[in-house]
Symmetry: C2
């Protein structure tokens, strides 16, 4: 077969219905008799619920149900720690926590009814920072936790000896804030319970099976009584993996009413209800030898999960050790503590903790490179782990394009010409910065399984139906799976249909997270397509009375070269596979579980079948009058193994780049006394087109041996280097280093003033 389908830039197979406005997002779904829900949230970061009076709300015309925490199942749920109820009962632990829900004949009436609910709170002391929460004698947000949600120590090699041998040592503390996922589609669900008591939930989700497990737990009913169907999903970015409450509340309300219920977050509700990324303070000390080798690294992380731990411990785990694996380091030490606070809960986010260490690490690396008089790209390249090597934590690197990414980046940004001297005139100063990063493609640590099962059905018209539970949230999973299938089956892309994930009928999969879908589910599709093709060829060989090896299969036709009478369309063989003695439809199941190794108690293992790499260079212009930083050029080199769909990889890389720029310069969740002040897109300023340069990306195809057609996870890596590249470029431009994100004009001006004062003092001294 030609490689014309895999590797071709292909519009998304889901595009047509989206551009026509006909895709059914959860909020678009209309079921007969459907009611509308709204949720009342806590205005206090920490308070005891003394009493709730719902009588006026219940009396409002059009209201069908009002529930509070006391009505919800008492079983606690959580991805790890079981600490949440569907609605708060007895105590609220953060502003925005769900306290009551109303169902009414319209969204407007439901919203009006919220105003009629009287909740009497007794405020409790609020712990609004990790420092406060971890202070001796602080009250416990969850009893018995000492306000520690998770804690880990990792140490390998001899860190102290490493530092002793270092030519340069630098230490600093970095402060990284929380980022709202900012997807186009806020959380939304429609739930309905049928006459047989089975609950169906249409959800905006990254994983229907994780959603089902969570609902089974939170609703305290068997998983088999619940069906989760993925609605068209407008972005997830980690926040729709498993930590959202929207679908739980919606599902619960439907079970109480036996009527379909719709619950759609408006943007403010989504800012309040969705889990933003995990903020972290990182103290990093790192040493470089005179020849640029990283000889020691010591890290202390204080991450904050807010009121509930969710997946934040896993995120912190990644911050604590993932970046170590991109370099040939041997002496590393991490101590990481996750603090409960009375801020809103935090959780999974694109990059999954990677950026919380890549920002410190890449800033450090540039500083240290400067200290030994070496180009930071050279430092990265000297330390970069190679193909076939095993990292300090046991990761086996089957492929890496890190060297190529760095080299490509260097060329693209004009590094050598620009790096020696900052450019610009007057108050507009320009500088360049680079950073590199790595990411996983899959992750065994979710339950010692990182598999994906595909069902492939060859219809009687020779076309293929694929069933998976890996969710397309817009990132292009369905297109990628279709391409692999069409390529392997030798049929047009349009002859493959990927069905909607549905826990009733789809095979068990973990879902779209950890950049796992391309390599894991892609391999499963490859296996399924091969098995289906084998069945087709075996039957054709029988029909034609020839050996399978003598068959040719191309463009949907099976033939015996040179024997024109021995030829059949795929559809004909598909029908014959059924309509014969002992026949059956061609219906293939294939599973790929990554050939990885679960980490041991010391976190040593090989948790992903492949690892992706990226490098980014930016050029910034800093206005020293206003402090404004503008990214005027950005180039990302993304090592995705093989771009199944280059168009999609570029698109995802662009998105990740923008999200990194937003985190670094613009986006900032502002709280006062635990209350979000800017839960809207006017005040929470995500980067829009006018704030961005023409984004440039290119791909490195390192051809991973475990990857389908060599492919591994694409583009999630691209969110990781941005912040450090910008901070490094700012430093290059104006000579000040900002350790705290976001890099606001105020911080830039403050740093410039501070440097000016220092210089004056130095001059006077």
């Amino acid at each position: 077969m030609s490689q014309s389908i895999v590797g071709a830039s292909t519009p998304q197979v889901t595009a047509r219905e989206k551009v026509m406005g006909r895709a059914q997002y959860a909020g678009d779904i209309k079921l007969a008799g459907m009611l509308h829900a709204k949720v009342l949230r806590s205005p206090h970061p920490h308070a005891r619920i003394v009493g709730i009076d719902t009588s006026a709300a219940k009396a409002l015309a059009g209201v069908r149900l009002v529930v509070t925490g006391c009505d919800t199942p008492t079983r606690l749920w959580g991805p790890h720690r079981k600490e949440q109820r569907i609605l708060a009962a007895g105590v609220v632990r953060h502003v925005g926590e769900e306290v009551a829900a109303v169902v009414a004949v319209s969204e407007e009436i439901a919203r009006d009814a919220l105003d009629l609910i009287r909740v009497e709170y007794e405020q409790l002391p609020a712990l609004l920072s990790p420092e406060a929460a971890l202070a001796d004698g602080a009250p416990e947000i969850h009893a018995g936790t000492r306000n520690i949600g998770h804690e880990m120590h990792i140490e390998r090699g001899d860190v102290d000896a490493g530092f002793a041998a270092a030519a340069a040592v630098y230490e600093a503390t970095y402060d990284m804030h929380s980022q709202y996922p900012g997807y186009l589609e806020p959380m939304a669900s429609v739930a309905t319970q049928d006459g047989n008591g089975r609950l169906t939930v249409y959800a905006s989700t990254q994983s229907v099976f994780l959603a089902r497990s969570r609902m089974a737990e939170a609703l305290d009913r068997p998983a088999s009584t619940i069906r989760v169907v993925q609605a068209t999903t407008g972005g997830g970015f980690g926040a729709k993996i498993v930590e959202e409450n929207n679908s739980l509340i919606c599902a619960f309300l439907a079970t109480k009413l036996d009527r379909p219920v719709r619950l759609v977050n408006n943007r403010l509700e989504d800012f309040q209800g969705a889990r933003a990324s995990v903020p972290a303070k990182v103290w990093l000390r790192m040493g470089l030898s005179a020849d640029g080798m990283i000889v020691a690294k010591d890290v202390r992380i204080t991450a904050e999960c807010g009121a509930f731990s969710g997946l934040a411990g896993d995120v912190m785990h990644v911050s604590a050790m993932r970046s170590d694996n991109m370099h040939r380091v041997t002496n590393v030490r991490s101590h990481a503590v996750l603090a409960y606070t009375n801020n809103p809960p935090r959780g999974a986010f694109r990059g999954f903790g990677g950026q919380q260490m890549q920002f410190p690490l890449n800033c450090h690396l540039t500083v240290l490179a400067g200290m030994i008089g070496m180009d930071p790209i050279e430092v990265h390249k000297r330390n970069a782990i190679g193909r076939g090597e095993t990292s300090v934590h046991g990761w086996q690197i089957g492929s890496t394009g890190m060297q190529e990414c760095l080299e490509m980046t260097r060329q693209a940004i004009g590094w050598d010409a620009k790096r020696n001297a900052p450019r610009g005139t007057g108050t507009r100063r320009r500088g360049v910065g680079i950073a590199a990063a790595m990411h996983v493609s899959g992750n065994r640590t979710l339950g010692n399984w990182d598999g994906s099962t595909i069902l492939l059905k060859l219809n009687e018209d020779g076309r293929v139906m694929l069933q998976t539970s890996e969710c397309d949230m817009g990132q292009g999973a369905n297109t990628m799976l279709s391409q692999i299938c069409a390529q392997e089956m030798g049929i047009p892309l349009s002859h493959v249909t990927v069905m909607v994930p549905d826990t009733d009928t789809s095979p068990f999969c973990l879902g779209s997270l950890a950049s796992r879908v391309t390599i894991i589910s892609g391999n499963a599709v490859l296996r399924a397509a091969r098995e289906a093709k084998q069945k087709v060829l075996a039957l054709a060989a029988e029909k034609f009375g020839v050996e399978m090896a003598s068959l040719s299969f191309a463009d949907g036709r099976i033939s015996v070269p040179g024997q024109p009478d021995k030829s059949a369309m795929l559809a004909e063989i598909a029908r014959l596979h059924i309509f014969r003695h002992g026949g059956e439809g061609i219906h293939v199941r294939a599973t790929y579980d990554a050939p990885t190794v679960m980490h041991d108690a010391s976190y040593y293992g090989n948790i992903a079948p492949a690892y992706s790499f990226a490098a980014q260079a930016v050029e910034v212009e800093v206005d020293t009058c206003t402090g404004r930083v503008t990214v005027i050029d950005s180039f990302v080199a993304d090592d995705c193994g093989k771009a199944i769909n280059p168009l999609a990889v570029h698109g995802q890389t662009h998105g990740a780049t923008v999200q990194a720029i937003g985190w670094t310069l613009y986006e900032h969740l502002r709280y006062e006394d635990g209350r979000l002040q800017n839960g809207n897109f006017a005040d929470y300023t995500m980067a829009t087109a006018d704030a961005l340069p023409m984004l440039r990306t290119d791909l490195v195809e390192s051809n991973d041996p475990n990857g389908p057609f060599g492919a591994k996870g694409a583009s999630e890596t691209a969110i990781l280097p941005g912040a450090a590249a910008i901070a490094n470029a700012v430093h290059h431009a104006i000579g000040v280093r900002i350790h705290s994100l976001p890099i606001t004009p105020e911080k830039v001006l403050a740093a410039l003033r501070e440097r000016h004062e220092t210089e004056k003092e130095t001059a006077h001294a």
Copy 2:
């Protein structure tokens, strides 16, 4: 395992939603933006469409679309002969044929708009009987057919020699009318085309895959672009297998509008649009030896398919030869002709042509038994084919309970006491009659495949999801499959969920026809459950470090007897099957294709894996003043191999018995010039409770070697003997034999008058 689930009388697993009124029949489905369709039908049995003016209809406020035959695809469809379009184009061939369709915002407006469509017809000569259609020089309804839809000849042995050796020979012609299927739910569909151009049709159907094939053909688009989902279905009785136009029209309209469209037949429309059973005239000559053996049988059948042939040829095929297989006959001859007429098309119906021969055969057998002075039960028993024997047409009888059925019937009705003399006094005369019949359990002849595939998924809570495309139309398929699965897996019935047939996700199956589901799909479930259990046991053995053989599996728990620490719930093993290295969900596919043999060109073969038998005795009271015949007692013995769910078998047997009584005495489609005169339940008098005796049934469990737990098709056989049993009883009661159905008071009085005249003449002579 105990036999506590299979064999237990179990309420239908679909009962709860039905009794709560929450089951979603197609007509109940409401989709957002849904429009409503109505269909204009031909008032003429045969006419050329000169012109159609739809302008006024289109101009009516609320009308969204008006289409006529010219708008529909030109490709012709049909189960065998391709002779229909979705709407008639150019010519109409029967009253009720679909000529135009309107879609509007309400059903009422759509109906109003029909009145505004002006169709100019030029009437053509109508052929309203097979005699007229088959007459020399008759115009052809379909060009090149000589008005013959199908014709077959079968001859085995030496029929003429058989007659020569006969002690008694009787010949007569029987006239059998068409019966409306009379299900609770008329045809109904909802269709919608999504933004990706895929069409979904929610249909009231017996076979989603046959429906999809038919739609692909009629709509002239690839099958993979169509999804057919079975809505809750309120009875099928054969009419919802594949011949209905409702879903085709609805689907077509949805593709034109890109809006959901609902088309629900009202009862009159269903009388006009649904295919009723195939009427037939049967000339039968049969000879008995002095010892009661059937030595020769000669049959000539003229069946009528009406305007389109559909499945009527298959029905006639059954009439022509199926009944031969219940006896040890060797000399048989059939010549059967299917005539096109300008009456409405006829097709599949419960019993599928069996009753059109069992009525003549069983009447004949009673007459001939009388001629040689033998009890007809004795004649049946002497001739009855035995277990292990091969019938004249090659059918291999793996099990038969015919002898037991006859004996049980004899006892139950009090045959020996009642048969010698009719009872009753004055004008109320009572008589008894019996008949016996056989039916297939499955049928390979639909495409040399009679298989069924089951997907079984074991969820993480240890519960099972089953996917099949065999449709439950109320007959209890889902309950039966659940029972077999629960029994074999050793789990409670409530832990099995059978999902809705859906061509996108369900495995390919033929559907619910030919009494095939219990034996075919039941076996597939049995295989799937065994395979799933094997997977569970293999993993448990590995986990416990023991041999599989030492494991015990009962009540959802796997354990090692005597080692209480080695025990796990099914759910735990199901989870472990995923969450381990190389794991995957337990997801099993199993197919059962019956071990049968396709018949050859002479119709010799073994087409079903099992054959079911039944016998019925009735007692009637005939009012010689009014001619009214009342069934005052009915007993049916049904050989179903093994009753998986006795409650359901009894229920289905009752239903079949009532339908047979209705056909024999009450139901009568009345036409004038090809126009139905009584398309409603006031004038088309199906038997209601006050017209029926207390129905009695009992089961014979002949334990078929191919059957799951010995089961084979139940209860369809029970529709076959009723007409003859009643006719025989009428003869017994009043000495006249009615050869023409229905046995109306008029016919009875006419026959009594005729006999009286004959007696008078004889007395005078």
